[in-house]
Structure formats: structure tokens, C-alpha cells
């Protein structure tokens, strides 16, 4: 337990000391609010079912944070630590791999939730964004989706032969997903072809689930999303458990 808590605190410190990851998790979503908010405002529109552009962007940008942390941060940090020989040094101690991974996941979840809070705060201050869901439900959904995205990140880290390869893979996978899944830009604005592609992207289901719960829909309304994300979580966790290497 002591080692778990220590690792969580060390991971958080390292997160905040690394400008790039801190920016992507905390700063980038706020930047999107400022830019797109200035462009589109938050007037209710039938396009978004009576909600404003910023209203629907809140869950979207949250999904963005989850995706960037899961696909990029988890994948890149884990594989670079492995390449540098850091994981190997840990392996020479009584540390259990599970403790390390749980601490890593926990620290990432904390950063994600912090990012979400910052995002919603700015959105509320500037555009009085609306929230009509159950807070507990939404937070649970964020954690659930987060775990699924992190699991994919660990699989990328386990499969990529080097840290550089992991970086390339995660960026190639994540950047298009950012725009095509409805996270960065609401799907309502996209042409039908894009919307069909979106159905094949994991992040799309995160966006749909979070958006639904954000505006008062129930878990029952989103069983498809839960099933897809649950499936991703289970399969990727099993894969990562088998493939994870300390060196």
C-alpha cells in the first residue's frame, strides 16, 4: 500500500514537471474552449438538440483528455521508461508489476479528472455551460472510459518495439481520432462519410456515452457504448497482461 501511494505521488509530480503532457491534459482542452467558444459561442441551436456548441463540447473535450492520456501519455511514458532501463531497475526490487500499473493508472485518472474540472470551470465561467446529468454517473463513466483508453495505451506500449515506435503509433492513431470521433469537433457538423468512419473508432463511443450522461440520459440508453468500451477494457487488459515487458 505504501509503495502504491508513493508511486501515485511520484507519478503526479513527474506529470506536472513534464510540460508537454501537462499541457495536453490540462491546457489544451481549455485552449479549445477559448478558441472554439470565441468562434461559435454557446447559443442554443436545433443542430445540437437545443444545446449550444460549448455545451456539447464539454463531454467531447473530456473524451479528448481521456484519449490523449490513454493513447499518448500512457503508451509513450511506459515505453520510454522501458527503453531507458527505468522499469528494469524497478524490477530488481520487490515491487509487484500490478502495483506499478495500478499506481500509473490512478495518477493518470487523477490528472484526467483535474483536466475535466478545469475544462468545465472555464466553460461555465465563460459560457455558462449546462450540465443536466448525475455527477456520480458522469464521473463513473469518465473512470470507466478512462480505464478502457488506458488499457489500449498499455497494449500499444507492450506491442511497440521501441519508445519511438510507440510515439509514432499512438500519434498516428490518436490525432485523426481526435477529429473524427466527435471529441474535438461535434459529429453533427461532419458529413455522413465521416460519421460512418466514426463508428469504428473507440473514442467515438466514449464521446457518445459521456455526452448522453452529461445531458441526463441513462446508462440504459447507452448500452451499446458500455458494451463496446467494456469489451475494449477486457480484451486490452488481458492482452497487456500477457504482453507487458519490463525490458
Amino acid at each position: 500500500m505504501r509503495s502504491f501511494l508513493k508511486f501515485v505521488s511520484v507519478n503526479l509530480k513527474l506529470y506536472l514537471r513534464e510540460p508537454i503532457t501537462a499541457f495536453f491534459t490540462l491546457g489544451f482542452p481549455i485552449m479549445l474552449v477559448l478558441i472554439f467558444g470565441a468562434m461559435y459561442g454557446n447559443q442554443p441551436t436545433p443542430l445540437f438538440g437545443g444545446y449550444g456548441s460549448m455545451d456539447v463540447s464539454m463531454p467531447g473535450y473530456t473524451a479528448l483528455i481521456l484519449g490523449s492520456v490513454g493513447f499518448m501519455t500512457v503508451a509513450m511514458n511506459t515505453s520510454s521508461f522501458r527503453d531507458m532501463g527505468i522499469l528494469r531497475r524497478f524490477r530488481a526490487t520487490p515491487l509487484r508489476p500490478l502495483t506499478y500499473i495500478l499506481a500509473d493508472v490512478t495518477a493518470n485518472l487523477v490528472m484526467t479528472l483535474l483536466g475535466m474540472v478545469g475544462l468545465v470551470l472555464v466553460g461555465w465561467l465563460l459560457y455558462r455551460v449546462r450540465f443536466e446529468g448525475q455527477p456520480v454517473s458522469v464521473i463513473l463513466a469518465v473512470i470507466f472510459s478512462g480505464l478502457a483508453m488506458f488499457a489500449v495505451g498499455y497494449v500499444i506500449a507492450s506491442l511497440a518495439p521501441t519508445a519511438r515506435a510507440a510515439q509514432v503509433i499512438s500519434m498516428v492513431v490518436f490525432y485523426p481520432m481526435m477529429f473524427l470521433s466527435g471529441a474535438g469537433i461535434p459529429l453533427e457538423i461532419m458529413p455522413p462519410t465521416i460519421r460512418r468512419i466514426a463508428d469504428f473508432l473507440p473514442l467515438t463511443y466514449v464521446v457518445k456515452l459521456l455526452r448522453g450522461l452529461w445531458f441526463g440520459e441513462t446508462w440504459g440508453d447507452h448500452l451499446l457504448e458500455v458494451a463496446v468500451l467494456g469489451g475494449i477494457l477486457v480484451v486490452c487488459t488481458a492482452l497487456a497482461a500477457r504482453l507487458f515487458r519490463w525490458e
Binding site: L14, R17, G85, I86, R89, A92
Partner: protein, 304 residues
């Protein structure tokens, strides 16, 4: 005598290359045991198989009575490990590193005096990435001692250290042994093995070619000691060949080389010269060392 480490028939190949070729040896409790050889001889593979970080292809290894593969977690509570190649998150501070690793063990010493002992107290708040090579090395050694282990593994302990730091490290290793711990180290510095180790295993191409105390290994060569000095111009050559410790004398101009053996060799010759009133200049003694042993056993000089 209890064996801290027992290795039998250890074998490890990487593809076609046989890195460790069925070696067997024992490390006794409380001794400093050195595995010596050039890079690529199989030392790191051996030490990492013993630590449990690598799987051997065959053979048995017992460390403190445990199997490093099966009882890895329990074993790692009781051993300290300094790896040859290792790194830590660059932005983590020195004290944070020690604080973190201390939490990984059931029992850890207070790391503050440990930092002092290793000369890192001033760098406590420095980021790991900003440390010099030697400072990083010392931090890794601190990590190896943090859990007050019974058995310490040191892989290429003084590589990258300047001579002063190297001597300080030797003193540290001796003090570890003085506290009753066992040390298993690998090195390619013959002088280090000779000065530091109670027993030495010389490894070459995956095999142990010799295993004994440094003194015994050197003595087994039968190489003679040499005393070399210069006579002032015009000085008559003293007769030394009659001394029991002396086997022969060679002269080149004013430079004399006296060959002999025995513990009293040097003093016998010097007393004889003093007695005869012969002034000598630039006196130098040469005696065989582990380098000579390595050369004799492998036909090669130790290459870094």
C-alpha cells in the same frame, strides 16, 4: 561455512552465442567474491541470472537458499542490486528517488546518512538527469544498500569513476563486508579484483578459467618478482646472485634487474646493497599481478 550463492551448470545462450557455458561456483557468506573478465566474457549475464533478472537456459542457482526465479519477491527483500545499465526518471530528485525506493521494501534504512556516506548529501535536491555519471553511479549504489541487504550485487562498480572516487568506493565495499554482508561483484579492472576480493573467478568466453584467492592465483604462475635499480656511474656491480632469494641478475648498462622470489626478496636485496654500501637510484619493484594471471590463462591481455 554457509554458501550465500550456489551456482551449478549455469548455461545461457543468445541465439548462436553461448554467453555462459555451464559454470559452477559458490560464494561464501561474508566474503567479497569477484567475477573478473573482459566485456563480453559472460559476467553480466551470470550476475543477472543469479539476481533473477534473466532466465538461464539450464542449471541451478540458489541465493540465500532461495530460487531467484520462483522466490524472486522474497529474495529481493534481502538483496541489494546495482545494475550495470540503469536509469531513473530524469526529473525525479535524488531524495525523491531514495524516498520512493525505500517504500518498496519492507525494511529500509534512513537514507540521509547513506547519502552522506556516498558524498551525495549536497545533491539531495538535484534532479537525476542533472547528475554527473559518477554521481548517478553513487546514487545507484545507495539504492543497492537502501534495504540493508545481506547480500549485495555490484555489476561494474567503478566504471566511469575517477581514481579518487574509485578508491572511496573500494573503502565502501570493504566497510560493507565488515558489517557482515556478502558482496558479489563483477569487474574488468584487474587491480580492483586484486585489491578488493577475497576470492576471484576469472571468466573468459563464458567459462570460468580460474577460481581462487588473488594471492594463490598469482603464486600459481610461478612468475618471479623483479627488483630494478640503477647504479651511479662508475659503481662496481654488487654481487647479489649468492642471496637465497635471488635466482639471477641481469645487467644492461647501469640498469640492474634482480630476479627472485619469496616474501623477504625485496628486503634481502636492499639490506645486501646497504651492507655493501652500494648507493642505488630509481629503485622499482615489479611483481606479477592478476593481469599476468589473465594473460597466462587466456593468452590475451585484458581489453576494455
Amino acid at each position: 561455512m554457509t554458501a550465500a550463492i550456489t551456482v551449478d551448470g549455469l548455461r545461457k545462450a543468445y541465439g548462436d552465442v553461448l554467453a555462459v557455458d555451464s559454470i559452477a561456483f559458490e560464494v561464501r557468506e561474508g566474503e567479497i567474491f569477484g567475477m573478473v573478465g573482459s566485456n563480453g566474457a559472460g559476467k553480466t549475464t551470470t550476475i543477472e541470472c543469479i539476481e533473477g533478472l534473466r532466465n538461464s537456459d539450464s542449471g541451478t542457482v540458489r541465493v540465500l537458499g532461495m530460487n531467484p526465479q520462483q522466490d524472486g519477491y522474497a529474495l529481493r527483500e534481502r538483496i541489494g542490486v546495482q545494475l550495470q545499465e540503469s536509469a531513473l526518471p530524469a526529473r525525479l530528485k535524488v531524495w525523491e528517488v531514495l524516498d520512493l525506493f525505500a517504500a518498496l521494501y519492507r525494511r529500509a534504512v534512513d537514507w540521509r546518512p547513506l547519502l552522506e556516506q556516498l558524498g551525495l548529501a549536497e545533491k539531495s535536491n538535484a534532479a537525476f538527469g542533472k547528475l554527473s555519471g559518477g554521481q548517478k553511479q553513487r546514487l545507484f549504489i545507495a539504492l543497492a544498500l537502501l534495504n540493508d541487504p545481506e547480500l549485495v550485487f555490484l555489476d561494474e562498480l567503478t566504471t566511469g569513476l575517477d581514481p579518487q572516487a574509485r578508491r572511496a568506493m573500494w573503502d565502501l565495499v570493504r566497510s560493507i563486508r565488515q558489517r557482515g554482508k556478502t558482496v558479489f561483484l563483477t569487474t574488468h579492472y584487474m587491480e580492483e579484483a586484486e585489491r578488493l576480493c577475497d576470492r576471484v573467478a576469472i571468466m573468459d568466453h563464458g567459462q570460468i578459467v580460474a577460481l581462487d584467492t588473488p594471492e594463490a592465483l598469482i603464486r600459481s604462475l610461478g612468475i618471479e618478482k623483479r627488483l630494478v635499480f640503477t647504479l651511479p656511474p662508475g659503481q662496481a656491480t654488487p654481487s647479489l646472485a649468492g642471496l637465497p632469494q635471488v635466482s639471477r641478475v641481469e645487467q644492461a648498462g647501469e640498469r640492474l634487474t634482480v630476479y627472485g622470489h619469496g616474501e623477504r626478496f625485496v628486503s634481502a636485496v636492499v639490506y645486501a646493497l646497504e651492507d655493501a654500501g652500494v648507493p642505488f637510484l630509481d629503485l622499482r619493484t615489479e611483481q606479477p599481478n592478476l593481469e599476468d594471471v589473465f594473460l597466462a590463462l587466456t593468452g590475451r591481455e585484458m581489453r576494455d
